[in-house]
């Protein structure tokens, strides 16, 4: 027993050293998981902000087409200039069916002759002022879209001024007219959930899915490398000639792959927390307060899931005739873990049916959700624990059987 454990540890530690020395593995399983969420949630918005401010610097051409007899309101002329819009005023074609009818102007915009056209026509109403308008632009051209956005902002501000002036004539403020029923006090204060509970709730929507998806996908490459890869490189034969039992080799390799996959998942969660804490203020998003039972439940569910997933992937990789075939087989298999994990996020925990807690993948994802929400239901715990243990044992038994195959030495095909 002690010798067996020593051999398992020898295999696992050698495989871990081998992983650490491979820069591609480090990039795929450490750097990418750590950076993916900060890149999406921090770097991408900052980059977009930078690009938008770059567009702000451009002077764009605006043509204002006014109906015969109308004049460009003073409330527009200066703001257009402030928004870096070079304006020219022309007369509106009277034959247009409506102001959005692009007519011959479509070609001028598409050719880049003009970035945007504002059509204005005064109309009659009880308001202090009333106008019909349309903005012609090309949504596929960045500068045209930017010009449209600037014109729209100016029009909106002008409209607000008109509304305020009309309301003022009736002795009303904007709030009195448009917001007669309003919230008193701080909106956030009325929520009885603590920031820790809010964090737990928010994370319960993310963490189970990340764990399921990333465990399954990050275990692929090491699983293939340690089985079909070893066979292809000829190292498996020498290894099988040692006194280590095949099941010990499997456990050692499993331990290494599971460690790498778990590390990868942890790095990704760390990246997620960094991104979330950057985006949300600390008083809204705290550290989840979990009971010891919830933490134990969370860890146990992750471990059992990792046992299950890694054993299946190792077994499938052993069955493959080559590294290429193993990759081809394991790619789609990951979907079998990802799809249930995604659906599990939308299962209502209130009044949930018991069988959800025995369905593969769902059981672990739901267990993690309950743990993060600090819900302790002993029936649910017994169900997911029992079923996960069962699936893990079946997967490991199957993997151990695959490791007894003669073609583990060299592929028959």
């Amino acid at each position: 027993m002690r010798e067996g454990m020593a051999r398992i540890w020898t295999v696992a530690s050698k495989e871990l050293v081998d992983f650490v020395r491979d820069w591609r593995t480090l990039v795929a399983l450490v750097l990418v998981p750590l950076l993916i969420f900060p890149l999406f949630f921090i770097a991408l918005p900052l980059f977009m902000q930078g690009e938008m401010s770059e567009l702000d610097q451009y002077y764009l051409d605006l043509e204002v087409q006014l109906a015969d007899g109308d004049e460009l309101p003073d409330a527009l002329s200066q703001p257009f200039a402030d928004h870096r819009l070079n304006q020219t005023v022309t007369t509106l074609d009277p034959n247009l069916s409506n102001l959005s009818d692009t007519g011959d102007d479509a070609v001028r915009i598409q050719n880049g002759e003009i970035h945007v056209i504002l059509r204005l026509r005064s109309s009659q109403s009880n308001s202090t002022e009333s106008w019909d308008y349309a903005i012609l632009y090309d949504a596929t051209q960045e500068l045209s879209s930017e010009a449209r956005s600037r014109v729209f902002n100016v029009i909106e501000a002008w409209e607000d001024d008109i509304i305020n002036a009309t309301l003022a004539e009736s002795n009303l403020t904007r709030e009195e007219a448009l917001d007669p029923i309003h919230w008193d006090g701080d909106f956030g204060e009325a929520n009885v959930a603590t920031s820790a509970q809010i964090a737990g709730f928010a994370l319960s929507m993310f963490i189970p899915m990340i764990v399921a998806i990333w465990t399954a996908s990050s275990a692929i490459q090491p699983s293939v490398d340690l089985t079909a890869g070893e066979r292809e490189r000829g190292t498996m034969e020498a290894l099988l000639c040692t006194p280590a039992r095949r099941v010990e080799l499997l456990y050692g390799k499993w331990l290494a792959v599971a460690t790498v996959a778990a590390g990868s998942v942890l790095f990704q969660m760390l990246g997620l927390l960094i991104a979330v804490s950057f985006l949300l203020p600390a008083d809204t998003f705290g550290v989840p307060e979990l009971s010891v039972g919830a933490i134990a439940s969370l860890l146990l569910s992750v471990v059992l899931f990792a046992v299950f997933v890694v054993a299946i992937e190792l077994a499938l990789a052993v069955r493959a005739h080559s590294v290429k075939e193993a990759g081809t087989v394991l790619g789609p298999v990951v979907l079998a873990f990802i799809v249930p994990a995604m659906f599990a996020q939308f299962v209502n925990l209130e009044g949930i049916e018991w069988w959800w807690f025995v369905a593969p993948v769902f059981n672990v994802c739901l267990a993690m959700r309950e743990a993060l929400l600090d819900i302790t239901d002993l029936t649910h715990v017994a169900l997911w624990l029992g079923s996960s243990l069962f699936y893990a044992i079946v997967a490991v038994t199957w993997a151990a059987k695959q490791f007894q195959r003669e073609d583990l030495v060299e592929s028959i095909s």
Partner: protein, 280 residues
């Protein structure tokens, strides 16, 4: 005669329709240095894999006999085996010493013991300065030497060497052959698989010829030459191996569906260790 340590009794091995070995019986004694000779695809690698328990015989048995004459399945006494597979099986990102240490740990040997033994053999093979280098940049010869040290690091009683001088320069090959002879003199049993007859004649005191999966001859070089009335061992080998290719079962005629499916999923089927690559 010294005691028998390994006995191969009526062993046959098939992979699907292909009979890789048929009814092979050999006894190996302590201190024997046995040359396992055969052409490409003769069945040498299959036999070596049966001897170290990687394959199970389709028929017959391979047993290890301990000092008391008690029989054990080979898989149970692997710590008594040192194996150099043809592919050498070294991990490229580990140093030569780390590769050796990995196997010696799996054999239950302390690092200190393994290092002392490794350094001594490495010096004999002129590779002691390369022990701390990753094997990624090693030449074929250096890989062979490292694999040989790895096989010897736990002081095994029986050594199975598959083409141990393949890829070695003349000087290195000579050193390996000298080491093998010395191992035999120390009382170790060595099975030396090769297709170089002059090398087998120089190193081994007994030669087993395998051809098309069958045992064609087993004796000293002089006995083989005498039995075939041949002036040289090479001539004896040629006379013993002049016949058609191995027996293959004629498959049942395929149905139309099977023919269609076969066209869709065509694969070249080849028995492991028997298809030339490993015996090359």
């Amino acid at each position: 005669m010294s005691r028998t340590i390994l006995s191969v009794r009526g062993v046959s091995k098939s992979f699907g329709d292909v009979h890789a070995l048929k009814d092979v019986s050999i006894d190996l004694h302590r201190g024997d240095v046995v040359g396992l000779v055969g052409g490409n695809g003769a069945g040498k690698t299959t036999l070596l894999r049966l001897l170290c328990g990687l394959y199970q015989p389709t028929e017959g048995e391979v047993v290890h006999l301990d000092k008391s004459g008690i029989e054990h399945p080979v898989a149970e006494v692997r710590s008594n085996l040192g194996v150099v597979p043809e592919s050498t099986g070294l991990y490229a990102r580990l140093t030569a010493w780390e590769n050796i240490r990995y196997h010696s740990r799996l054999n239950g040997i302390s690092d200190k013991q393994a290092w002392n033994r490794t350094f001594r053999i490495a010096r004999e093979l002129d590779i002691e300065d390369d022990l701390q280098r990753p094997t990624r940049g090693f030449s074929r010869g250096m890989r062979q030497k490292t694999a040989l040290i790895r096989a010897l690091s736990h002081d095994p009683e029986l050594l199975l060497l598959d083409e141990p001088t393949g890829g070695l320069d003349v000087t290195s090959a000579r050193k390996v052959r000298a080491l093998v002879r010395k191992l035999g003199e120390e009382g170790r049993t060595v099975i030396y698989s090769t297709h170089k007859l002059n090398e087998a004649e120089e190193v081994c005191d007994r030669i087993i010829i395998i051809h098309n999966g069958t045992l064609r001859a087993d004796g000293t070089p002089a006995e083989l030459m005498g039995a075939t009335d041949a002036p040289t061992l090479e001539e004896a080998f040629v006379r013993l191996t002049q016949d058609a290719s191995r027996e293959v079962e004629t498959p049942e005629p395929a149905s139309k569906f099977q023919q269609f499916w076969s066209r869709l999923t065509t694969r070249v089927r080849k028995p492991p260790g028997n298809g030339g690559e490993n015996d090359a």
